[in-house]
Amino acid sequence: MDTPNPPLVSIAALQKRYGQGAVVLDGINLDVNKEEFVSLIGPSGCGKSTLLKLIASLSPVTSGTLTVDGMSPKNAREEMAFIFQEATLLPWRTVTRNIELPLEVSKVAAAKRSEICARMRHLVGLDHVPEHYPRQLSGGMKMRVSIARALSVSPKILLLDEPFGALDEMTRDRLNEELLAIRAQQKFTAFFVTHSVAEAVFLSSRIIVLAPNPGRIAHDFTVPFPYPRTAETRESPEFQRCVAEVSRILRSVSPAHP
């Protein structure tokens, strides 16, 4: 087999527990290649968000190995960006100044900063509100700013922790489509935590289903249809079949409820 490129993210025999508490993740083995779009789904408490935080090095690995682009996650931080469930914008900064924040922190020159920012603002469709403050924006627009901010550093890897969970369905679908359109240009590798099977199927090239107690990988599912995907993709029978199948898998790993 010829695999000239090593996996971008490589996880082997990983275990995670917080302090002396219960084991949150156990025996995780996962290789993810460049430009894959991986969704992590699973019942509450399966550790999907924790896995994302480990990759981001926001939390230390207990045992096992985890490398990002051949480095420790901490050293690879510059290649990653994280998008949280809330938009986490600074309310005292305008849209423009929020998008520029990571560049400002890494001391990119002002001219370069505003050039990148203008490009990102355009990419997420916020050209018309450069000087607005977050409180003047809708939930969907705030999330767009958050995406633009994450992309401003041209990350190789984008980590998304249920970014659209708090939005209404229409906005969520729109942002899903836009996210894929942006990815077609920016070519990042994505890890996407979600509760929505339909969202996972629509976005991903690969879906990892986690089972709880302790969190472990139960299924590694490849989404069979190609990009680009559009709103029509959701209506195809193939898509529906896929959603049904992943839902079935998800149910099989969820603890039984009365």
Partner: protein, 261 residues
């Protein structure tokens, strides 16, 4: 229309209160030293305006200096306390001790240490303004959302950037709340300072000192006039702080910006 109501209603209420005041005094024949009429107080204020203005200036100077010192030192102390939980744990009880000890007990001690005069008045005001500023600002500095802190870690911000770009702006409304509370009690500090530590050489004391003088001379309407002067100074003080608050938060904070989108 609404704009007019906002000052018309209080104005009407004020006239009613003055009328009731005058009425009660006339009907029950209350004597001037018990309750002077509003007009008498106004006359006294006009007659004594030079003295009262000079006194107000002295009191406001002490109050303002103590207030500004409390704002600056309070902010710095909050920064130190926000740096580590151990600092907070060690220092906070003693800041509470400062707050819980009535200022009337500190005041004579301070006069023994520093003698009467403006520096002592300043310290007295500082002592009562310090706590609300420290308590609020520290709260603001440490109550930053966990995700925001994670965001700053993800963009590789160093500790200084985290403090300057995240914690300090986040704490600003808290700091201003501290200033508002401190602003409303700064005049108490100034007047307490006058009473205990006012520099009265050449008969030029602050409002607190003038209260003592008028009381001693049984100049009761003048005493009331001094009270209203203090009240007016307090309003000036709070107005300045509220103006600062508005100016700093006008663009982004929900407490200031009312209309949405």
């Amino acid at each position: 229309m609404r704009k007019y109501v906002n000052w018309l209603l209080p104005a009407l209420a004020g006239i009613l209160i003055l009328a009731a005041w005058t009425g009660v005094k006339e009907v029950f024949g209350i004597r001037n030293f018990v309750l002077p009429s509003p007009l008498r107080i106004l006359q006294a204020a006009i007659k004594e305006r030079a003295v009262l203005l000079a006194a107000a200036e002295i009191t406001i100077t002490g109050a303002a200096l103590g207030f500004v010192a409390a704002a600056l030192i309070g902010f710095l102390a909050s920064m130190v306390m926000s740096l580590s939980a151990s600092f907070r744990l060690s220092l906070y009880p003693y800041i509470l001790v400062l707050q819980m000890t009535p200022i009337m007990i500190f005041a004579p001690v301070l006069v023994i240490w520093m003698g009467p005069g403006l520096p002592t008045v300043t310290v007295i005001t500082f002592l009562i303004c310090f706590f609300p500023i420290v308590a609020n600002t520290t709260q603001g500095l440490i109550s930053v959302d966990k995700n925001m802190v994670d965001l700053f870690r993800m963009i590789n911000a160093d500790r200084v950037q985290e403090v300057l770009l995240l914690r300090v702006p986040h704490a600003l409304p808290y700091f201003l709340t501290g200033l508002r509370i401190a602003g409303s009690i700064a005049m108490i500090g100034g007047i307490t300072g006058d009473l205990f530590a006012g520099n009265t050489s050449g008969n030029a004391g602050g409002i607190g000192y003038m209260v003592l003088v008028y009381d001693g001379q049984l100049k009761i309407p003048e005493l009331w006039a001094a009270g209203f002067t203090a009240c007016l100074c307090g309003f000036v003080f709070v107005t300045v702080v509220l103006g600062l608050n508005w100016w700093l938060l006008r663009k982004w904070h929900d407490s200031i910006v009312k209309s949405d989108v």
